[in-house]
């Protein structure tokens, strides 16, 4: 980096810090503690508070819901280095993401790479502005880890495809406006070769959703059924029958997103949270030496993973990343998040067992604990991730 570039970046940092200090409401600088604290956008979106609305709108107006997307698509047009500065400045003050969205994390990157100009112009600005909420139609009842064996079929009929089949584990399908979906357009081809990646409106005739009650008592996932849903062929992203390429590329982003789940490095240290219920001695040391050791080991691994996540972004920007590295991150990040919640449950003891009381915020901790068990399943199981690392990164035989 030249001296003038460094100087420009420092100027950007100080301007960004000033702007964030002036524009991020204090309420938006605390970690999110419930689903209502997260704004997902969409046609039926409601803000849970005035500060949430203000923060979202100010960030949207700067294009900073998607800081590194091109300005023409509603993004902030930041360079990689500027984006890193913005993220570090937001992390420094504990600012929440103004908008959470599968459109941002998953579909957007895939459209930027594989979408045609009309598709980009149509969909990206609406994602950036939080106008349309997306869901992902990937898994099927008989296509879980073996995703490419999916059977939802799309039959050609003039300018349209007619889609019939069902999807499962469709996150928030009951709230979503549109779906990005994998369908089989050529049933005679080998399983990876006959798949297309297609977009359609969830209000289309023939689409129904049914929430699935999980062990957490919540229903973040749905079964989604398509009964002769008619979708224009122009809604296919990339080439017909080459949807697996798009799907894999999107999965890399999904895995990167899931690996980053968990409130890493924000809020109070885990050891101090544990001290609330476990107690501490006169020096402030946790009153449970074994638990203290587990927490400290967790903290070491968490800090190391944060460095690795930072490095993964830097490597990608330097063009040195291995495309399958997100699988490595996904495996480790999800196992770590499960460890975090095992520790929190252990630390909370009896208090962490209450399921319905006001005191426990309707069992927030045990429900969150149970939710984390899906982390190492959704978006590709830990075992699938390790298989990908073995095959694509280590080049082991027969994997």
């Amino acid at each position: 980096m030249s001296e003038s570039e460094t100087a420009d970046l420092e100027k950007f940092r100080s301007e960004t810090r000033t702007w964030l200090e002036a524009n991020c409401p204090p309420e938006m600088r605390k970690p999110a503690t419930s689903d209502a604290d997260v704004f997902w956008g969409g046609r039926n979106a409601k803000f849970s508070s005035e500060p949430q609305r203000i923060w979202f709108e100010r960030m949207r107006d700067k294009g900073w819901t998607v800081p590194d997307w091109p300005k023409e698509y509603g993004g902030g047009g930041l360079t990689a280095a500027e984006h890193k500065v913005l993220r570090s400045e937001m992390a420094r003050m504990g600012a929440r993401p103004p908008l959470s969205s599968f459109g941002i994390w998953m579909l957007g990157p895939a459209l930027l790479k594989y979408g045609n100009e009309a598709q980009k112009k149509e969909h990206l600005p609406k994602i950036a502005a939080g106008l349309i909420r997306w869901c992902q139609g990937y898994s099927e009842p008989n296509a879980g880890s073996d995703l490419a064996s999916l059977q939802t079929r799309a039959e050609s009929d003039g300018d349209d495809f007619v889609i019939t089949g069902s999807k499962i584990w469709t996150s928030y399908a009951n709230y979503a406006d549109w779906i990005f979906c994998l369908v089989r357009t050529d049933p005679t081809a080998k399983k990876h070769d006959g798949i297309s990646f297609i977009l359609f409106d969830m209000t289309s005739k023939g689409v129904t959703t049914k929430p699935i009650l999980l062990i957490s008592g919540y229903s973040p996932f749905c079964e989604t059924f398509f009964d002769g849903v008619r979708v224009p062929k122009s809604h296919v992203v990339g080439t017909v029958n080459r949807g697996w390429d798009v799907a894999k590329y999107l999965l890399q982003h999904e895995r990167a997103m899931i690996s980053g789940m968990g409130e890493r490095g924000v809020g109070r240290p885990l050891g101090q949270i544990a001290a609330d219920s476990v107690g501490a001695d006169a020096q402030g040391k946790l009153d449970d030496a074994m638990l203290r050791g587990r927490i400290a080991t967790f903290d070491v691994d968490e800090a190391a993973l944060a460095a690795c996540a930072e490095r993964a972004v830097d490597l990608a920007k330097a063009g040195q990343a291995h495309p399958a590295f997100s699988s490595a991150m996904k495996y480790y990040g999800t196992e770590l998040n499960k460890r975090r919640y095992e520790i929190l449950m252990s630390a909370g003891g009896v208090d962490a067992l209450e399921w319905e009381s006001e005191r426990s915020r309707q069992g927030a901790r045990p429900r969150a604990w149970l939710r984390t068990k899906a982390n190492s399943i959704e978006g590709g199981t830990t075992e699938v991730m390790l298989g990908i690392v073995a095959k694509r990164i280590l080049d082991l035989p027969g994997a």
Partner: protein, 379 residues
């Protein structure tokens, strides 16, 4: 600052790798061990190191050094870790040079740093006294005597202790073991009256010694930094050493892992390459991820040291703790996956296991650094 090597750092890595893999593959260590080499490293190679500017890598240019940073020192350490090359680089060029550069007065710097840079002076820090690394437990006594001090006590795991020209000794000038106040660093000539040195042949065939000081007289000019206030300087120097050892362990882990994966791709049993077995694939994949995470944590620590040594403690603790657990896992899997071959002395894998064990103890093991992080976070 990005967590990737710059072009200059990549070039440095390539030149270090070229020299080390050419002149000091693992067979070099094996020969030194088998011949019971009295020096324990190759002087000729050390001269090459000096000529390439590595001996004075961290020394400011005004004292004949290269004036580079800890990231660059880590690059060299990682390459050293790949072939387990015994070298004064860690003790002299990283730890002692940093102690002198950070704690030395003008006269001390002018006397020692140029000699470190040109490879003519070897030095080392003498810190550990008990079985485990506990810097604050330092009990080696330094009592005032005339204009100077008299030092009495013993040190263990003094790296290169039997071949150096200068000891930097952590001593207690006041207070009692366990206290931060009252620590002082002294420059001690190994040839001074009252110094006895026992070379200790270690499991890893790298250099170490036990030294004993019996009323060793030093003058007031031998104090490095301030009397009684040495703890801060010591913390910094140790953190620099820890970052460097973590980098060595990343190189070691990476190398033992590459050799193991290569073996999985070639060894056949039950009519298959053993790398086809999922039981081994998943363990190899987990280990790969462990190493990559530890590599990033180590780069982060070295970067933090370059930004401000005093503020780098937590990052360094994370790196050294991770490096310890990762290297331990890497060498154990290395031996296990090589099967019976991994148990033979003829095969190199055992050398990695032995060196990893010593690196783990050097400047505090994973437990020590995990405990430090817990304390820093207030629980």
């Amino acid at each position: 600052m990005a967590l990737v090597l710059t072009e200059e750092q990549s070039m440095l890595r390539d030149s270090a790798r070229g020299l080390i893999s050419d002149k000091a593959p693992v067979s070099h260590l094996r020969a030194l061990r088998d011949n019971k080499d009295p020096t324990g490293f190759s002087k000729e190679l050390w001269h090459s190191f000096a000529e390439m500017g590595f001996a004075g890598l961290l020394v400011p240019e005004e004292f004949g050094g290269s004036g580079l940073g800890f990231m660059e020192a880590g690059v060299v350490m990682e390459e050293i870790g790949r072939t387990l090359m015994p070298s004064p680089f860690l003790a002299t060029s990283v730890v002692a040079a940093s102690a002198l550069n950070r704690g030395g007065n003008a006269a001390q710097k002018a006397e020692y740093l140029p000699k470190i840079s040109n490879g003519s002076l070897l030095a080392t820090l003498a810190i550990d006294e008990g079985a485990k690394h506990r810097p604050l437990q330092t009990a080696l006594q330094a009592v005032r005597a005339g204009n100077g001090f008299k030092l009495s006590g013993a040190k263990a795991l003094v790296v290169d202790g039997h071949v150096v020209d200068l000891f930097i000794v952590a001593a207690r000038t006041s207070g009692s073991a366990g206290e931060r106040d009252g620590l002082t660093l002294f420059l001690v000539n190994p040839k001074a009256k009252g110094v006895s040195i026992e070379r200790t042949i270690m499991v890893d065939a790298h250099n170490a010694a036990r030294i004993e000081l019996a009323n060793v007289e030093v003058n007031a000019d031998s104090v490095l930094g301030e009397v009684d206030q040495g703890a801060a300087l010591l913390d910094s120097v140790l953190d620099i050493g820890r970052g460097a050892v973590a980098a060595e362990m990343v190189g070691l882990s990476d190398e033992v892992f590459s050799r193991t994966v290569e073996y999985l791709k070639n060894r056949k049993q039950f009519g298959k390459l053993i790398g086809e077995f999922q039981a081994l694939q998943h363990r190899a994949a987990e280990l790969y991820v462990d190493i990559e995470i530890t590599r990033a944590a180590t780069m982060k620590a070295l970067q933090a040291l370059d930004a401000d040594v005093v503020k780098a403690t937590s990052s360094v603790a994370v790196a050294k703790a991770r490096a310890g657990t990762t290297a331990t896992r890497a060498v154990q899997e290395g031996v296990q996956m090589h099967g019976g071959m991994g148990m033979t002395d003829q095969f190199d894998i055992g050398f990695f296991m032995k060196r990893a064990r010593v690196c783990e103890e050097l400047f505090g093991d994973a437990n020590y650094h995990t405990e430090q992080l817990a304390r820093a976070r207030g629980y």
